[in-house]
Amino acid sequence: METPKKPNSRGIFDWFDPRGRNVGGWGFIINRLSAIGLTVYLYLHLYMLGKLAQGPEAFDAFIETAKTPLIMFGEMLVIIAGLYHGFNGLRIALNSFGIAVPAQRQLLYGVVGITLIGTVVFGVRMLTAH
């Protein structure tokens, strides 16, 4: 995880304090929020995949439910969070081992760009496939 610029005086409430926050700070906040969202999703996903063991009726009925607009919207949020957290995580890993440290800001803009492009590609595919 990245280190926030300011000393952490109010726990998670500091995450939402825009004062004095720069691009890297916002990158850190979004990384945290996407991490929490993906963690919740992971355990829900594991639970729902249990329907695979129950047989085709149970699983395929669940897949039909997954094609409803509300669930598809949730899936899009997961894809956005996954793309951002994944690519930003790669950026952090590279920087942590001393690679491309001077280009942190440019890499973060690249992460946001890839997330936006990936979101459009997956979104179009999801909407046209269902």
């Binding site: 995880m1 990245e2 280190t3 610029k5 952490n8 726990g11 998670i12 720069n22 691009v23 890297g24 700070g25 990158g27 850190f28 945290r32 991490a35 929490i36 993906l38 963690t39 992971l42 355990y43 594991l46 995949l49 249990g50 695979l52 063991a53 047989g55 085709p56 699983f59 395929d60 897949i63 997954a66 094609k67 899936e75 894809i79 996954g82 994944g86 690519f87 995580g89 790669l90 952090i92 890993a93 920087n95 942590s96 440290v101 942190q104 800001r105 973060l108 590609v121 997956f122 595919r125 999801m126 496939a129 269902h130």
Partner: protein, 125 residues
């Protein structure tokens, strides 16, 4: 830009930090394949039960890959959650309780996921 390099924080060992970083990179590689197969290449957008079973049986590397993915993602999520909780400065006693809960949850989720993989592979046999 501020220094945003990741590094172990107070209460987090170097080993845990390293596992978090390395598992994150490994997850990324497998996640790309998972996204492509389940959301981009699946004929109807999502795989049906029969397609999942067929896919696992025809490509034995897939359940092996999914097993490792499960292991990495559970480790990464639990160490990451612990790292977030460290920001809230919990007491040493609470952190110890949380550590035990995280280990128990990790073991349970890993066991459940591996059982599920075998249940899918052996479904109907």
């Amino acid at each position: 830009m501020q220094n945003t390099l990741s590094q172990p924080k107070a209460g987090e060992s170097y080993l845990l930090w390293l596992v978090k970083i390395v598992s994150g990179v490994l997850i990324f590689a497998v996640l790309i394949i998972h996204f492509l197969v389940n959301h981009l290449l699946a004929p109807n957008g999502l795989l049906s039960h029969a397609e999942v079973v067929e896919y696992y049986r025809n490509y034995p590397i897939v359940p092996v890959m999914e097993g490792f993915f499960l292991l990495f993602v559970i480790a990464h999520s639990l160490i990451g959650t612990r790292s977030i909780i460290l920001d809230l400065r919990p007491s040493a006693g609470l952190l110890k309780v949380l550590d035990i809960l995280f280990i128990a949850l990790g073991l349970f989720a890993t066991g459940y996921g591996i059982w599920l993989l075998f249940a899918v592979i052996n479904f109907g046999l």
